[in-house]
Symmetry: C2
């Protein structure tokens, strides 16, 4: 059976197109996990992750798994049964945060905002003082609605109150500046398959010493690896694979045996981070995505479509657009994919059938792709009988991309 992989234009908010240079490095030969050539790559990945999060944290490494594995590693290493957790929910990934905290045994207090809106940070801080949780678990870039929750004030207030701030930056990572130290965030999870333009399956994260000190109380070096004197807490993390205290020993000079690190995912991560951090520069990457996101959004408006949600707090690497009246959103997406090789996303829960989500993440944020996308998207809108103003859009695009 030979793999059939057509050329797709993936304009979703993730998993999205991978920079071809990143794909290429995944075809390299493997190295043993304790080979000095591989541990050097691991060390470089730690340093690149630090730079990507603008942090001096010692602890910055990837988890071998999808983004939710990264979030689960952080949540389940911090939250013990009975711990109180505060989750401000304004979309589907707030639901995931609730689920992960609950499974770790946390007692979750949920704050709700209308989907398409975000919270005033002062409201979250006030609720924190009322609930007195061990942690606030908040989504930064909520792709289900395309909103970006400001979190720059949370870390400091939480720290003063002895609360930990955990931020799911899976979809905002490499799409917007996340100065982890400046914002005093305790643990932050990024994503590979969004604005980093790497394949899914590896998840960069970072946490500070305060967070490390807290989770190390639960450290339990595993049976058969523990030496005399090794920490063997009875308050251990339920997961072994996602136990950050064990991963700290693996991702440090101790190189204590744990799982077998995925070689090719580390190659891909290394290349993707090198491009974003060293070659492009993260501020340039943010600016570029924002530029094309703005142009796509305005072009869709000229066409006659309605942009969804609170525009002041939108993610700068995607566009959420209302599905035109009378159009079956999923059928439309199937036509777009099956007949034209173009993929966009639907959404979840209350947003299902109401909006399409179009990503402008990382590598895909190029004039070339935006124009290709719009010409096909417009063509299919017309096929579906939607009245569109192509002339207005094209006039705008000619100006915008001059």
């Amino acid at each position: 059976m030979t793999l059939k992989i057509n050329d797709r234009l993936i304009m979703t908010p993730g998993p999205t197109m991978v920079d071809p240079r990143v794909s290429q490095v995944a075809s390299n030969k493997i190295l043993g996990q304790f080979d000095p050539e591989f541990t050097k790559i691991m060390n470089e990945n730690m340093e690149l992750i630090r730079k990507s999060f603008q942090t001096k944290n010692q602890w910055a490494f990837p988890i071998d798994g999808s983004s939710r594995a990264g979030i689960e590693a952080v949540v389940s290493s911090l939250i013990k049964p009975g711990d109180k957790v505060l989750v401000p929910r304004f979309g589907r990934f707030g639901d995931l945060a609730i689920e992960l905290a609950t499974r770790a045994g946390g007692k979750v207090t949920v704050m709700d905002a209308e989907w398409g809106q975000v919270f005033d940070q002062a409201d979250i801080i006030a609720k924190m003082h009322e609930v007195k949780p061990k942690a606030i678990l908040v989504v930064h870039g909520e792709t289900s609605t395309g909103r970006l929750q400001p979190v720059d004030q949370l870390g400091h207030a939480a720290k003063e109150a002895g609360v930990f701030t955990v931020v799911d930056c899976v979809a905002s990572y490499m799409g917007v500046s996340i100065p982890v130290d400046e914002w005093e965030l305790d643990a932050v999870i990024g994503g590979a398959q969004k604005s980093l333009s790497a394949p899914a399956g590896i998840t960069p994260l970072t946490f500070n010493d305060r967070f490390a000190e807290e989770i190390l109380k639960r450290k339990r070096v595993e049976e058969g690896v523990a030496n005399d004197g090794s920490a063997r807490s009875d308050d251990y993390v339920f997961s072994n694979y996602l136990d950050l205290t064990q991963l700290m020993d693996y991702w440090s000079p101790a190189r204590l045996n744990h799982h077998t690190e995925s070689t090719i995912m580390n190659y891909a991560l290394h290349e993707a981070l090198s491009i974003a951090v060293n070659e492009e520069g993260i501020q340039n990457r943010f600016a570029n995505q924002f530029k094309h996101q703005h142009i796509l959004k305005e072009a869709l408006r000229k066409l006659g479509l309605t942009i969804f949600g609170d525009e002041e707090h939108e993610m700068p690497n995607m566009v959420a657009v209302e599905i035109p009246t009378g159009v079956d959103g999923d059928k439309f997406r199937a036509t777009l994919l099956d007949e034209y090789g173009v993929e966009i996303s639907s959404s979840f829960g209350p947003m299902q059938g109401k909006i399409w989500r179009i990503g402008l993440m990382g590598y895909v944020a190029q004039k070339y792709y935006v124009l290709r996308f719009l010409s096909i998207f417009t063509h299919v809108l017309k096929e579906y009988g939607v009245a569109v103003d192509e002339t207005a859009m094209n006039e705008y695009l000619t100006e915008a991309y001059k």
Copy 2:
């Protein structure tokens, strides 16, 4: 920073060399996780995994993570706090089984065999009748000692007693026949980075309907994905990422949103399984590895080295050899790797410093590699002042590879 990846001859019992065709497919463009072209690949991977385990089980899919993620998924989905678990330990991966069962809340009874030996299945069965556990968790190929535990009688006896048999076949997978249905094993975990010759980071597994029925009692469709009528057990699995009941919905026509499946790891798995199952045929692969393992073992004997352990129960895809007296095993390995690009393994716990472990797994089981390895290995033994009989070895090899 450009990746530096030298040409290594990786003769460890995993992670081991990847077939270049497998490496190449990882460089393909990605596909969206719900793209019909990708779900077709996912479906083919399920079918290939079934064939690899010689099973008609409906449930056969990979976990996005290393082998221990696969074992943890099975153990933590089955074992609830307070459940009794029986673990026969005869090496380091027995320790891992104990650790995983304990973290899931299991009450573990351990049987011990001397490292280098295996258990008589009748003893395990007798102990099972005494302990009456919910599950027996046993390692098939124990790479730390190079032993292969017979498990062909366990499944039937356990089933009759209402006990589940979970077998860690990470290191034996694709190295030896594992007829899951014939042996009546309830859940079996394979490994990618051993005799399958794929990169680490994805883990094939299978389980039968009896196992599925048991874990489905704990099913809890997650917050935000659950619809009215979705299962929401309060007896849920602690992990969300590794919850097999959720992965069953993802790896079935329901395609219920869960994690973002790793595209390139699925490409690699597809190619590696296609080669092993369809092109070579698994029985041929087993026979080929066994042939080269036998030759390597005899060649080492001719050289004057001592083979470790109970030879009747050795793994047919690796050789455990005693470190010659007076040689610092780790220093020797460092010379081999740093100066000659050849990697072999040390071992764990009581075996540390006593044996080297040399893999003949999958792609590396070729005359070309065995001879390359032996010539360099012999050269370094002499550098380290070990008296070896090269003539005897070379005469043997000339005959063996005629």
